[in-house]
């Protein structure tokens, strides 16, 4: 019936989204997208449109939504400045492999290339930072382009797709005929599993005396958490996790040996350079993980499982590459593994754990005097949520502290800007996460700097009553930059000191409850007050001004060159 009558391009577009199962859109209307917003008006029972306060917020909210739900996040914005505002989120999603479909309005096709009002070359700008960018210039392309966009965004290694939708195509009438996309001949989302690669990897692991696994976001994106657990347990392999691999394993999983990288745990970093077989699973050897590549895991045979061929040998040469989805390759390898007992090797992590506890964690998480530390706030919040909450972070010290001290019991519980490191990601991403997982508690840890980069999204939180729990770790500094200035720039605190507004008064203006804490004794009660219901809440904790995130592997140093700050 739908195929007989003609409808406008704008309506065909909304119907296409519905066919893809879209029920939530983060957006902001404007001139060149008005026909679509007009069509949306008739579909308010099918689609929950959330009006953000800035297009950057819409993209980060869609990212938060996608990361916790596993669905494709959708943004709908207008042309020109709206499109450029969306760039940060699109780039962030590209770096962190987050499936997004971002629709930008565009001037009518007849005006393209004429410097028309609010015209910008969106496809040209976004091509380097998307999996696919396409301009829809006529209504008959709409169904095809939307189907293709969703297929590309969610398949293989996920990522953002931009559809630039000219205004004439929104008005044009078209017969609506929707076919989902399942195949593009030039695009192989998941490489075939090659038995020889599986066998080679299994053989290396079966011979290993000191195997060590690096768990990345690929495990989460392919829903291979259970397969990972079986793999690690069968061959008794200890594992560390990357920032985006956070929550792929529960914190209390016995083989989970902690957080990798620049501010990660001592054990997993040191063991990278002590193991004999290193098994990288759905991770890309980012420089924040590897430090100096010349001294990285040189003693080990490297097995690299990845869905993206171009990641193999990009940074670290793989002795045994294993192409494919971890969902398929992990159990295939597990099948060939002998049951093993590496308890002696695993026991050697303990020494580093004790050392880190004594030199770093004791002081950071369990201080008994002095000012409040960032680590203890995170520790107390995670305890108060029984480690069941979703963690969202901004970027900087708050992010590293949260990654270190927040505890996870479920997968898809960590939303953070890893690759791009986008300050301002926090508030909108937390909003999106809460919308994507409304039954769960969402805790945002944010610095006083990052909070003010997207602070206007408090308006969205107010309007939609999104029950996010926002915690500002307020040190009146751009903390991570200040830390580097202290360590590497002779304490020359060049433009990192911040005079902050009364955050609670701002929250109040947005009708959001909040409390400000100055001393340790007030902290538990404030956290309890924050978690007492499912409403939005702002907790401002004034922490020590010159807190440091340790351990730290300085940029370009070897992973076993880890500073403890003692």
């Amino acid at each position: 019936m739908e195929t007989k009558t003609k409808i406008t391009g704008a309506e065909a577009f909304i119907r296409s989204l519905l066919k893809e199962g879209v029920d939530t859109i983060f957006g902001y209307p404007g001139g060149a997208i008005m026909p679509v917003f007009d069509a949306l008006y008739d579909f308010d029972k099918h689609v929950n449109h959330i009006l953000t306060r800035h297009e950057q917020g819409a993209t980060h909210a869609a990212q938060g939504y996608a990361r916790v739900s596993g669905k494709v996040g959708v943004c709908l914005v207008t042309s020109g400045p709206a499109a450029t505002n969306a760039i940060t989120g699109i780039g962030d999603a590209m770096m962190d492999s987050t499936p997004l479909v971002v629709i930008t309005g565009q001037v009518g096709a007849a005006l393209l290339g004429t410097d028309a009002f609010q015209e910008i070359d969106v496809v040209g700008i976004t091509q380097p930072i998307t999996k696919w960018a396409y301009q829809i210039r006529k209504a008959e392309d709409i169904a095809w382009a939307v189907a293709r966009a969703f297929y590309i965004a969610r398949s293989g290694r996920p990522g953002p797709v931009v559809l630039d939708f000219t205004k004439n195509a929104q008005f044009q009438e078209v017969e609506f005929d929707y076919k989902p996309c399942t195949f593009i001949r030039s695009y192989i989302p998941i490489p075939d599993v090659q038995p020889s690669q599986i066998e080679a990897a299994a053989a290396l692991i079966n011979q290993a005396k000191r195997p060590f696994a690096l768990v990345g976001q690929g495990v989460v994106l392919s829903n291979a958490e259970a397969e990972l657990k079986e793999f690690l347990e069968k061959a008794n392999i200890p594992a560390g996790w990357t920032l985006l691999g956070g929550s792929a394993m529960p914190t209390n999983f016995p083989l989970n040996k902690g957080f990798l990288g620049m501010h990660g745990n001592v054990g997993p970093n040191m063991k990278t350079n002590e193991c004999d077989v290193l098994i990288a699973i759905g991770m890309r050897f980012d420089d924040r993980i590897t430090g100096d590549l010349k001294t990285y895991a040189k003693q080990a045979k490297v097995i690299h499982l990845d869905i993206d061929v171009s990641e193999i040998n990009k940074n670290v040469k793989a002795d045994a590459p294993v192409l494919g989805s971890a969902k398929e390759t992990l159990p295939a390898i597990t099948n060939l593994l002998k049951t093993a007992d590496h308890s002696e090797w695993i026991a050697t992590f303990k020494e580093y754990e004790d050392q880190e506890f004594e030199k770093v964690i004791q002081r950071e998480v369990h201080p008994t005097s002095g000012e409040i530390t960032m680590g203890e706030v995170i520790h107390r919040v995670t305890e108060a949520t029984q480690n069941k909450a979703i963690l969202v972070t901004d970027v900087g010290q708050n992010q590293m502290m949260a990654a270190r001290y927040f505890k996870f019991s479920e997968t898809r519980s960590m939303v953070t800007s890893g690759g791009l490191g986008t300050m301002g990601f926090g508030i909108p991403a937390a909003m999106g996460a809460k919308v994507g997982a409304p039954e769960r508690t969402v805790c945002l840890f944010c610095g006083d700097g990052g909070f003010q980069m997207t602070i206007q999204e408090l308006g969205t939180i107010m309007q939609e009553q999104i029950g996010v729990k926002m915690i500002i770790l307020n040190n009146h500094f751009l903390g991570m930059v200040r830390q580097w200035q202290e360590m590497f720039f002779e304490e020359r605190y060049s433009f990192t000191k911040m005079q902050n507004p009364d955050f609670i008064a701002i929250a109040k203006a947005y009708k959001i409850d909040g409390t400000e804490v100055h001393v340790r004794e007030e902290l538990d009660a404030a956290i309890a007050d924050m978690l007492k219901d499912d409403k939005p809440y702002l907790l401002v904790v004034n922490v020590e001004m010159k807190g440091m995130v340790y351990p730290m592997i300085p940029t370009g140093a070897s992973v076993n060159n880890i500073l403890l700050g003692d």
Partner: protein, 182 residues
């Protein structure tokens, strides 16, 4: 590592903005493209890019993988000169009066296998195909003797020494796999 001249061959769908998608990958890594030629391939609706650049093998592998990864790219691969039969074409505009002053131009034409495309009282246009060194040699010779008014050299076109064009096989297997899955 030594820089070598690599030839990258790319097969793509004929869509708007494809060249941009490819060149961005070179730009990001600060690589200069030496020559570039683009034309429809033997297969309908599929375009072929031939790109040459000086770089290391390590880098060319990464670049090719990143090109291949783009959604609209069917296949990208690279070769060194040993794996290819390749050719370039060059056009030379030289002044007729100076050329005639040379006396006999038969030796020149025979030696360089020159084709004459146009000749009038003002200028003569030579065409020469060959490798870079060969077209360059003629350019140098003409510059020193009669002077070259205009000169243009094409990008490289190349054919691999392997028996078949890899793309058609690959397309068949992709199509087969798809049909098996539905």
């Amino acid at each position: 590592m030594e820089n070598t001249l690599y030839t990258i061959t790319v097969f793509s769908e004929n869509t708007v903005g494809l060249l941009g998608q490819i060149t961005i990958i070179f730009t990001r890594r600060g690589l200069n493209i030496e020559t570039l030629s683009v034309s429809p391939s033997a297969l309908k609706c599929i375009h072929k890019f031939t790109i040459t650049l000086y770089t290391t093998e390590d880098m060319v592998v990464k670049v090719v993988q990143q090109i291949d990864k783009r959604v609209d790219i069917l296949k990208a691969y690279y070769n060194t000169d040993e794996g290819l039969v390749f050719q370039e074409i060059a056009l030379y505009k030289v002044p007729t009066d100076k050329l005639l002053e040379l006396g006999s131009i038969e030796t020149l034409i025979r030696h360089h296998h020159i084709h004459i495309l146009e000749m009038n009282e003002n200028f003569v246009v030579f065409e020469k195909t060959g490798h870079y060194d060969e077209t360059q040699q003629l350019f140098d010779e003409l510059s020193n003797s009669v002077g070259v008014l205009q000169f243009i050299r094409s990008g490289r076109v190349a054919i691999t020494r392997s028996k078949v064009e890899r793309l058609s096989d690959m397309l068949d297997s992709i199509q087969e796999k798809f049909e098996r899955n539905i």
